[in-house]
Symmetry: C2
Subunit: 134 residues, 2 copies
Amino acid sequence: MIGKLNHVAIAVPDLAAATALYRDTLGAKVSAPVAQPAHGVTVVFVELPNTKVELLHPMGEKSPIAGFLEKNPSGGIHHICYEVEDILAARDKLKATGARVLGDGEPKIGAHDKPVLFLHPKDFNGTLVELEQA
Amino acid sequence: MIGKLNHVAIAVPDLAAATALYRDTLGAKVSAPVAQPAHGVTVVFVELPNTKVELLHPMGEKSPIAGFLEKNPSGGIHHICYEVEDILAARDKLKATGARVLGDGEPKIGAHDKPVLFLHPKDFNGTLVELEQA
């Protein structure tokens, strides 16, 4: 069912410093910051040859990563995203096994303008998993 | 400097259950468990089309992930591994910027029989980073 690892998302307390770290110290190709107010984050994309790392910084009052950064002031890996071909089929299969889909269970349009769902970390080895329809 | 994302390592409290989750629920291709006594872990490799997820379970008294699982009983993402072409050049460049290399700073032979180093999470947005010479 799952295909490629689409990205690893890292919440960072200082987006400029994290961008410089990946660009200058680690020598990776990084994007300009992309504001995503609908998702409550500003994102810098780190382009690796086979996948992406996304550096996430809170944007606005209701950012979904503000609480994470309060608990993890240095930052940390926030979630991983796997691609699926058919997100509704994936959701139904997962729900049939008892896995919990976050929110109302309906796919939302994610940061890449594709349908996404998030799965409960407790059902996936303490790991917040995003599924994105590729 | 960094190349491909070689793997994402997830520490899991129950290796059989985590393997079944990735194989049966998420529909991924998984390996048999591989004992790595020198690294204090048993590993199941989840083969994705573009990279790997490694499910790590403690092996032996001095496992480097036992403490992590004590703090995170459900499991969690333990580290991410980036490939580099020349690990000594990478290390020297990183040290020159003030980034801390764990241990004595000399590359060790890692789980894939290639030289690896680990970088201090506090210097990398709360993320334990492994570098592997590809």
